[in-house]
Symmetry: C2
């Protein structure tokens, strides 16, 4: 266990300058550009244009721009929101990254390989005084978590498993709450989320001692009526990742949480363990979350009903709502009005 360090200035480097030029390289299909599509879906106003190389099989539906055109239109960062085969940055991508830095852009990457590990890229960044962001890696030294209650309101999405819609739910809530005049900001804890918020940290890449401290940095003290909507990770019941989920819960000091669930899954992702029930997740989240916020409470259930017909989906949600006394919705299919209603009722201005 480490002594608490003050958050170092380096942590501020996690702020990615917007707007973005989206680099797609010459990816072979849409799936390889999944992260880029997520960014365009949630932050269209930041995605000024795309840069594609000959042979590229993805198209974000935004203008194709040269580097000079992107700079002229005000772009600040070229975002590499694509997967490359083999983990090594191909030579013809390296030259594009160098050209972007020479044109005056920062570069942010979601690749496994670190940009700065390529000497030509490191030199170009240095030469031009530009920032490189590797959102899959976190070299930042965070403070250890303090556990002291800080002002502002916080909502965390938790899950019966990994990959059940935790990021999507907080993003949909950000939109829905802002539309109702609430002061709410999405707080990213995963790599796609970091691009979408322009800030945050991939919490699964943080050194273990600093999980809760990193979350305290991601969702810092704020106005008492301000909502941080914090992207959850993993599950308290997942044998691989429960430690991450617990550190996230303690660092978030969540006032409210939404349980996310995928109803057709029977075993937890990547392991043979049985999925917990929604009630088990509610109970354990309240029990453990009380350590840093004695008033933590559930405000709803978000279900990914993609695999169900509409009537079946509606019945499931009605049943869950009745069983738990909480609003239940599929945020994609049926919106988040019920969740926002509950939040407003539980936390009146």
């Amino acid at each position: 266990m480490r002594a608490g360090l003050g958050a170092l200035p380096g942590a501020q480097r996690m702020q990615i300058a917007t707007p973005y030029l989206m680099f797609l390289g010459d990816v072979p299909d849409r799936l390889a550009a999944k992260t880029a599509y997520g960014i365009v879906d949630w932050r269209p106003e930041w995605c000024v244009g795309q840069l594609r190389l000959p042979g590229c099989q993805a198209d974000l539906g935004i203008p194709d721009l040269t580097l000079d055109e992107a700079v002229a239109k005000g772009c600040k960062t070229m975002v590499i929101g694509v997967a490359n085969a083999g983990g090594v940055l191909p030579e013809h991508w390296v030259s594009e990254v160098v050209a972007a830095l020479d044109a005056g852009l920062d570069v942010a990457s979601g690749l496994h390989a670190r940009l700065g590990a390529v000497p030509a890229i490191a030199e170009a960044a240095e030469r031009n005084g530009r920032q490189l962001h590797d959102v899959r890696h976190t070299d930042e030294t965070f403070a250890t978590g303090k556990g002291t209650k800080r002002p502002g309101l916080r909502l965390l999405t938790v899950g019966t498993d990994c990959s059940v819609g935790k990021k999507y739910t907080v993003l949909a809530l950000e939109k829905g709450m802002r539309a109702r005049g609430l002061d709410a900001d999405f707080r990213a804890t995963g790599q796609t989320g970091v691009f979408i918020s322009g800030r945050g940290a991939a919490i699964d890449a943080v050194v273990a001692d600093f999980i809760s401290g990193a979350v305290e940095w991601i969702a810092p003290a704020a106005d008492p009526r301000h909502w941080d909507l914090i992207e959850g990770q993993g599950s308290l019941y997942h044998p691989s990742f429960a430690g991450v989920s617990l550190g996230l819960l303690h660092g978030a000091q969540a006032d409210a949480f939404v349980v996310c669930h995928e109803p057709t899954r029977t075993t937890m992702r990547g392991v043979g363990h049985k999925l917990p029930t929604i009630q088990e997740v509610i109970d354990l989240t309240v029990q453990l979350g009380r350590l840093t916020n004695p008033d933590i409470r559930p405000v709803g259930i978000a279900v990914n009903t993609q695999a169900l017909g509409e009537a079946e989906a509606r019945k499931l949600l009605d049943d869950l709502a009745a069983e738990h006394g909480l609003p239940a919705t599929d945020p994609v299919r049926f919106g988040v009005e019920g969740l926002v209603d509950r939040i407003v009722t539980e936390f009146p201005g």
Copy 2:
């Protein structure tokens, strides 16, 4: 959350070759060599000699050796188990490290600064084909935790707080269980522990997604009667480190646990939170530990009674034993016989 990777061959580099030459440099006092003293206390048979520079104010009470003498006596690794001021390796230490590598020794360091970050050291290691170990850092790629029950028996020390004797208790148990003919090995999860076991990982330095996976590597499948005695970290009730403690518990799949406690402490280390009771720690450890081992159970209580007189200490231990129905001891002051008795009774051959 990451996909499970196979443990990479690199992970094997964590095995530190023994016996050791203990490098003390020119530390100004005994405290700066705390780690080195801990290694000599628990592994005197591995500590062939010490290498001290002019002005050194620490003495491990073992022979002073030159590098050549150490090699002649069979030393395999020079261990830097000292703290240096300022975090930067002083030049006259660098030349000693290079000389050790040239003499044919590996070098293992508990310093904050990485050995390999010093070009002269990196080159000397390369030139001589020697290993560098930085036990405070973990570059290894572990697999994510599987949660699958593996053969062998495992005991974990857990705590009401950080720094309450978890390492000491498993080391004392290793000695006591071996003396009773049991097959038991200490498994390190902190830096001093890694030197003492020659293997392991500083779990607080592992990237968050791999905590439980790293513990699965530290305490792998073994003979059904073999005991892994796993060094605990933090506390499930510590707001800074509970995530680490939970990942450790899930990865350990502990069959048995010992609760460690310091009776004069009222708030948790580094934060203002009230210390949990021993019963709260027992209950939560059983509740959460069941995810990866449904049969987990407490086998005793270890109390650091240093601040108490002998009569007071004995009364406290008697009271705790009666209250919890478990053997209670101070391993330093009164030994671990009662704990070993309980282990033998609960897990008969």
